[in-house]
Every structure is written in structure tokens, then in C-alpha cells.
């Protein structure tokens, strides 16, 4: 088996679809399957508008999922995103609120909106930098760090809003970005941004060195370092990247609802994690894809949408979600086992 002859034919025949693409295809299949199933069961489910809703309803968590997926692939968690969404939103409001309102919650710093946004982004990136500092410099497990920074971020948001929200005394321009509809459709700017971001992410992941390096780091950090990869700096960039996305999401949500709400994005970090894992990203790192994550989100969206259409009571909604996730995951593990048997 060690004779050169064996290899010549394999130049052509030896290639094999990677487990990654396989899983991704599978997730796509499951998502479509679920949608068709729901369409078959529910009267008005099968319509274009409903398909659109699946994406428009989830632009926020999908955007977060992009940063989270990249970090997962590199072998790191990011549970801070939910907190950052709240923080950046609250900050953007607080900075933009006019000074001297009737009560503490209605008076802010009165910055021009653009400046307010920039400063809010600064806050988000600060959390990202904090993550990087603790994970890269102090070598503390990312799950601990980001759990902590998540609470810190949300904590600051709660302090600024006294545990509530700020929604008065805002400039009219504040609601602009979040509610700007595009191409004469009802689709809003944030959704379009999400789609663009998704495409960019896929390109980076598949076609750029940056994406490749992420996989190497996730697959074997030690070997990556000994192969001359600057691990620390790369992970730092990933955390800043993720925090930036979360920051933007927070600002856009705040703009859409014209309020900075300290509980916004509560548990979103887990939703982002779930859709990534549901999309076939390996929690151990080194394996997964953004496209998978996207369809992981769609799977959940279909379930939620169907449950809402049926006006299910909470109890059945939870049970239904559990069953759906279970089936989706089983399909993956089972198919992969079948393939590598």
C-alpha cells in the first residue's frame, strides 16, 4: 500500500466531500424539511411572507451567531454578546438623550446621534477587549470570562437605566437606522446588514487565510503556535469582531424600538450558541460553518413561527422546541455516524 502507483489514480478519485459540507447540507435539508412539514400541517404557513419572516424575525440572533460561531470554531466561547447588546443599546440612548429631563431616566449626555453611536460602539469593543485580555493574556477559560463580562455589560446597562429603560427625550434621528426600510419593501436596514455580514463571513471562512487560521487554532492550539500562528492576536481579533457585531445589533435594536432597555437581549447569548451548535459547529472547536449556523437559526425560527401560528400555550411551546432540537441534533449525529462507519 506504500507504492507510488496507488496514488496516481487517487489524484482524481481520492477527493471526498468534507464532513463539514456534509453536515451543512444536512442542516439545510432538515430546515427545509421542517418548513415543508409545517406547511403541510398548518393552513396559512406556506407563503412567501412567512418565509421572509423567518429571517427578518431573527436578524439579531443570526448576526450574533456569526461572531459566536467563529469563536467556537477557534475553540472559544462568547457568552457576553447578550450583555453587549443591552449595553451598547443603553449607551447609545444615554449618550443621545437630551440633558436636563424631568427625571434622572429622561436626561442623558445630549451628544449628536452619530457621536453617541460611536461612543456606544466603544463601550461594546471595550467588553470585547476585556474578553481578549482575560482569555489571551491571563489564559482564563473563555466560558468563565465571557460569563463574567456578560454580567458586567448587562450590569452597567442596568445601572444606567436603574434596572429599567430610557426611552424619552430622544432626538428624532434616533429611530432612523433601525426603522429604515429598504428597496420599497417592508424589509428593514438591520436585516439587509445581517445578510451582507453573513455573505462576508462565509467568504472569510471559506476563501481567506483568516478563516483557515481560525480552524487551525481551534483544531490544535499548541500545534498552531508551533506553526508560527499568532494565536493570541487572532483570538483577540475574533473577540473584537464578535463584540462589534453585538454592539451594532444593540444600537440597531435600540433605534428600532427607540429605547435603551437593560434587559434587552436577555439569554440571547444562549440562543446564539444553540443555533451555532444546531448548525453543526463543534463545541470543541475546529469544526463548523457559518452557513450551518444560519440554517440552525432557521430550524428554530420555523418551530417558533409554527407554535405562534397555532397560538400554543407556553408549556407546549417549550415541549415542541425541545422535541424539534432533539430531532435535528439526532439527525446530524446519526447521519455522521452512518457516513464514517
Amino acid at each position: 500500500m506504500t507504492s507510488v502507483a496507488d496514488f496516481l489514480p487517487q489524484k482524481e478519485t481520492g477527493r471526498r466531500m468534507s464532513d463539514e459540507s456534509f453536515i451543512t447540507l444536512l442542516v439545510v435539508g432538515v430546515a427545509i424539511g421542517l418548513f415543508l412539514l409545517a406547511s403541510a400541517v398548518l393552513p396559512n404557513f406556506f407563503q412567501f411572507q412567512n418565509l421572509v419572516n423567518l429571517v427578518t424575525n431573527n436578524w439579531a440572533v443570526i448576526s450574533l451567531g456569526i461572531g459566536v460561531s467563529f469563536l467556537l470554531v477557534s475553540g472559544n466561547f462568547d457568552l457576553s454578546v447578550g450583555g453587549v447588546v443591552a449595553l451598547s443599546g443603553v449607551l447609545s440612548v444615554y449618550f443621545a438623550q437630551a440633558v436636563g429631563g424631568a427625571n434622572p431616566l429622561s436626561s442623558g449626555l445630549g451628544m449628536p446621534y452619530v457621536l453617541a453611536i460611536i461612543c456606544a460602539m466603544g463601550g461594546a469593543l471595550a467588553i470585547g477587549a476585556l474578553n481578549a485580555l482575560f482569555v489571551v493574556r491571563f489564559k482564563i477559560p473563555s466560558i468563565i470570562v465571557t460569563l463574567g463580562t456578560m454580567m458586567v455589560a448587562r450590569g452597567v446597562a442596568q445601572v444606567i437605566t436603574h434596572g429599567s429603560q430610557r426611552n424619552t427625550n430622544l432626538p428624532d434621528s434616533f429611530g432612523f437606522l433601525g426603522n429604515l426600510t429598504m428597496f420599497g419593501t417592508s424589509i428593514k436596514l438591520p436585516v439587509v446588514l445581517m445578510v451582507v455580514l453573513l455573505l462576508v463571513a462565509v467568504f472569510i471562512e471559506k476563501k481567506m487565510v483568516f478563516g483557515r487560521v481560525t480552524y487551525w487554532i481551534g483544531s490544535n492550539p499548541v500545534a498552531a503556535t508551533l506553526s508560527g500562528i499568532n494565536r493570541g492576536w487572532h483570538v483577540t481579533k475574533l473577540y473584537l469582531f464578535s463584540a462589534a457585531i453585538a454592539g451594532a445589533v444593540g444600537i440597531l435594536l435600540a433605534s428600532e424600538f427607540k429605547s435603551g432597555f437593560s434587559n434587552r437581549g436577555l439569554l440571547m447569548e444562549f440562543d446564539a450558541l444553540v443555533i451555532a451548535l444546531l448548525g453543526g459547529v463543534a463545541i470543541a472547536g475546529g469544526f463548523g460553518s457559518v452557513i450551518g449556523m444560519f440554517f440552525g437559526a432557521i430550524i428554530l425560527a420555523v418551530v417558533t413561527s409554527a407554535a405562534t401560528g397555532l397560538v400554543l400555550s407556553p408549556d407546549w411551546q417549550f415541549i415542541l422546541k425541545a422535541i424539534a432540537v432533539f430531532l435535528a441534533i439526532m439527525a446530524q449525529t446519526w447521519a455522521l455516524a452512518l457516513r464514517n462507519r
Partner: protein, 503 residues
């Protein structure tokens, strides 16, 4: 169905294991006599480890039967194998860093009642065995503080004191120094006297002849022969059996050595190294030889910037930065000591493993050229004759030796002008060894400089032009290689003797 006499400790009957693409073990049948040391040899990928894994229930055979002392033995887990009286020392390290040495030694063998441990003579027994092999290891120390070699020793001690009738050792000496190998052999012989059967796998043929009673040869998963070593005439025959062609590897003085210095290291010191200075010339192969803990890996890692050190390292007169990244940029590459944990991306394919050390060659403006990756992979798979069914095979599914070749390919791809090879042929078979040696020589002939860090004297003497002898973190002596080099002197120096030799 035939009757299976229990005069045999172990009997294999048409054993096979298939993986997609490979028949790792192909209808193998042979018998192992009681209280013998039965050696198992074969090229990388011959199927030795796979065979072992089936004997110990880590893998399920595709077909075939196993009989232990005449009784059918089909373990579904290492546990059952152990209860069936088979203890194993696997090729890869398997110790728990978080536990102490003693906890590791007793792991899985403790006496328990109602879910709690009860005192037994076990502790004393394992400690005794450990002391017999390596007295310097403290039983209460956390394993995380030990070296590769020491961890290996822990495993050996555990297997040896398991009280099993059959003990399988898959390349136990790969990480050991002569000193420790000698002690290990003592233990093995004692085991044999106390009616234990040892199945011994190694690529180091001298060990086979020194220790073994019988030998079984595998090739490409097939059983070639089983016979008493007394009837094998010398290495050459064994090697021919293994690969079907003779190999010679004795040093011939090389002509391409220039006297232009490529690497100049002076005054390297750190936790283990004491004021180490040396130089490497263009087109030269230098060897660093010493026992475990002598500082070989430390030197390699220091030069590569992977460990902290004081002192200076200059490549072609230019100082080299203190990180692997800068080292690689300057033109240095390292084949690390532990391929699985330090060299390979085991969850990725061969194709994805090769380019990592030379991204500029694979990309333009941040864009990655996947096409080049494929061609590069195919090129190196051929050049190093890596045994695989596809360049998309995950490297974790390659045999030990082929994994090493992939790591090698990584470094060659980086086109460095200085290669640091730490234990380059650890766990690599004779056939592949000669191939690797050829590659090394060719590199040197093309004008690259190569440093080989090895605990195999045969290897150092085989290919190196100059040899640095290390002991306890100090370069004790520098010798030019040649036909009439004094081996006993070398062994004397690296074991701490020969003070006179120090300048």
C-alpha cells in the same frame, strides 16, 4: 470448530479489521506461547496497533476470533480485556495530568467496597514497580509536572503491576533513554519469570533481538511469518521480512558541508539549560545526543523561540526573535517531539495540515488558494510516500509513522533553511526511517542546515556530520562523526561520566 489447547497464552484465528479504504488488519492468524516475550514488528501502518486495539477491546474486529488460554475472548471494552487477564500499554500516552503519580498507577485497579476505596497492597506493589524502573519519580507528584518520558514510565509501571497474564506493550521505549530501557528490560524479564506473557512491539530491532523469544512480522495488515528469533539471522533478514528489501544506514562523510555559519547560538540558559553555545554550518547535519531530560527538546524549543531563554541566537548574523512566528519568518522550522499534541491538526485532513507553516506561499492579499493546497498535498504525499487512501483523510486516522511524515511535510513546505528535528523518527519504522534520512541528507546537500535532536545513538551516528553530547542541560563535548568514533566514550559522557573530556 477446532479444539483450542490452552498451552498457548493467545491464539488469533483469521482476525481482520477494515476501515473505509484500508484493511488495517487482513486475516491474521498466529499463536503466542505462554511465558514468552513475543515480538510484533512491521512497517508503519502494518497494523500492529490496530491488532493490539482489537486484543484489548478498544476496537471490534470485522471478522475472526481470539482465544486466550484456549477460551474464546471477545472483549467489548478495555475493562473486559483486563478482567480476561490482558493489560495493555498503548502507543499514545494515556495518563491523567490532573491526578498524582500514585493515583494514576492505581487507576482502575483499586479495591473498592460500597463505592469507596479500601486499603490494599496495591499501592506498595505499583510503587515498587515504579522504583524498579525510575527511582527519581516522586509517587505523590502531580503527573502534569512530569516529562514525556516520565509519563511513559508511569504507564509501563501501571501495566507491569496490573497482575495480568498477558501484557501488551506498543512501542514502550519510543520516548525512553538507554538507561531506562535497560531497567525496563529487567522488569520485563522478571515478569516472564513470573509466568507472564509479554507481547512487545517496537521499531528498534536491537531491542527485539535482545529481549524477544519469538517474533511475528506483519506487512500491510497481512501476517508474514511467526518464528523463534533464534531462527532469524540478524537484522537484515528481519528487515527484509518487514519490507521486502534490504536497508543500510551507516554514515558516509558528506562533501557538501561548507564552513559558512548559518546559526550561531551563544550562552543559551533557562530552567534546564546552562550556558549552551554552538553553531551550525550551511549544508551541515548536526546531532544533539543525550538522555531524557538532558535538554535536547529544550534547546530545540529555545532556538525555535517556543520557550523562554537568555542568551543570543543569530541566523546568518541576524538576531532571531523570541517566538516561533519570528523564527519561521527568519527561516527556521521545527518538527516537534510529540506529533499528536504539538505537530498535527488531527481533526483536519492531510491536505489541510501541510500548508500551515508557510501561508505566504498559499495566499495573496489574504486570499487563500485552495487549488495550490491540493497540488501541494499530492506532491508531498508522494514525496514522503505517506500511506493513505486520500489526501482528505483525517490525520488522526493515520498510523503513527505516517502521522510523523505529515508533520515532516509541514516543515518541508515552509522551505526553511534551518530544520530542527526533535526525535524525527520516534515511532517510525525502518523503511520510513531510511526514507526520512534520505530526505534529510538531500536537504543538507541542497544547502540547508539540519539539527537532529535524538535519543537514538544509531540515528545520530547514522546521519550527523557533527555531534554535540548533552548531559544535564550542558553541552559536554563536540565530536566530528566518522568511521572510528568511540561509542563507549559517548555513552560515558552522556551518562555524566568522562569529566576529563570537558574543556
Amino acid at each position: 470448530m477446532s479444539v483450542h489447547s490452552d498451552t498457548f497464552a493467545l491464539e488469533l484465528d483469521g482476525l481482520s479489521k477494515e476501515y473505509p479504504g484500508v484493511r488495517a488488519v487482513d486475516n491474521v492468524s498466529f499463536t503466542v506461547e505462554k511465558r514468552t516475550v513475543h515480538c510484533l514488528v512491521g512497517e508503519n501502518g502494518a497494523g500492529k496497533s490496530t491488532l493490539v486495539k482489537m486484543l484489548t477491546g478498544a476496537l471490534r474486529p470485522t471478522s475472526g476470533k481470539i482465544y486466550v488460554a484456549g477460551k474464546n475472548h471477545t472483549p467489548t471494552s478495555p475493562q473486559e480485556a483486563r478482567e480476561g487477564g490482558i493489560a495493555t500499554l498503548f502507543q499514545e500516552l494515556h495518563v491523567v495530568d490532573e491526578l498524582s503519580v500514585i493515583e494514576n498507577l492505581t487507576l482502575g485497579m483499586e479495591k473498592k467496597r460500597f463505592g469507596f476505596f479500601v486499603k490494599s497492597d496495591l499501592e506498595d506493589r505499583v510503587v515498587a514497580t515504579l522504583k524498579a524502573i525510575e527511582p527519581s519519580i516522586d509517587p505523590t507528584a502531580p503527573v502534569s509536572s512530569l516529562s514525556v518520558a516520565q509519563k511513559q514510565i508511569i504507564e509501563i509501571a501501571r501495566a507491569a503491576s496490573s497482575g495480568a497474564d498477558i501484557i501488551i506493550m506498543d512501542e514502550p521505549t519510543a520516548a525512553l533513554s538507554e538507561r531506562e530501557v535497560e531497567r525496563l528490560f529487567g522488569v520485563i524479564r522478571r515478569l516472564r519469570e513470573s509466568d507472564v506473557t509479554v507481547i512487545y512491539i517496537s521499531h528498534k530491532l536491537d531491542e527485539i533481538f535482545e529481549l524477544g523469544d519469538n517474533v511475528t512480522v506483519l506487512r500491510d495488515g497481512k501476517h508474514i511469518v511467526t518464528k523463534p528469533l533464534s531462527q532469524v539471522n540478524g537484522r537484515s533478514e528481519l528487515i527484509e521480512l518487514m519490507i521486502g528489501r534490504p536497508v543500510f544506514q551507516d554514515y558516509k562523510p558528506r562533501t557538501t558541508v561548507t564552513d559558512e555559519v548559518v546559526l550561531q547560538a551563544s550562552g543559551l540558559s533557562n530552567a534546564l539549560l546552562k550556558d549552551v553555545s554552538f553553531d551550525i554550518k550551511k549544508g551541515e547535519i548536526v546531532g544533539f545526543y543525550g538522555l531524557v531530560g538532558a535538554g535536547k527538546t529544550e534547546i530545540a524549543r529555545a532556538v525555535f523561540g517556543a520557550d523562554k531563554y537568555s542568551g543570543s541566537i543569530a541566523l546568518n548574523g541576524k538576531q532571531v526573535g523570541h517566538s516561533p512566528r519570528e523564527a519561521i519568518a527568519a527561516g527556521i522550522a521545527l518538527v516537534p517531539e510529540e506529533r499528536r499534541t504539538q505537530g498535527l491538526f488531527t481533526s483536519l485532513s492531510i491536505r489541510e495540515n501541510i500548508p500551515v507553516m508557510n501561508l505566504p506561499r498559499m495566499s495573496a492579499g489574504g486570499l487563500y488558494r485552495s487549488a495550490d493546497e491540493v497540488s501541494a498535498a499530492q506532491e508531498y504525499v508522494e514525496r514522503l510516500r505517506i500511506a493513505t487512501s486520500s489526501i482528505d483523510k483525517h490525520t488522526e486516522k493515520l498510523s503513527g509513522g505516517n502521522q510523523q511524515k505529515v508533520v515532516f511535510a509541514k516543515c518541508l513546505f515552509s522551505q526553511a533553511e534551518l530544520l530542527l528535528l526533535d526525535e524525527p523518527t520516534r515511532g517510525v519504522d525502518v523503511g520510513a526511517k531510511t526514507e526520512i534520512y534520505e530526505i534529510i541528507k538531500n536537504l543538507a546537500d541542497q544547502g540547508d542546515a539540519v539539527a537532529v535532536f535524538s535519543s537514538e545513538l544509531e540515528e545520530v551516528l547514522g546521519i550527523c556530520d557533527r555531534i554535540f553530547l548533552l548531559f544535564d542541560g550542558v553541552v559536554r563535548e563536540e565530536l566530528a562523526n566518522g568511521p572510528n568514533i568511540d561509542i563507549s566514550h559517548i555513552l560515558n559522557v552522556v551518562t555524566g561520566g568522562g569529566e576529563a573530556a570537558v574543556q
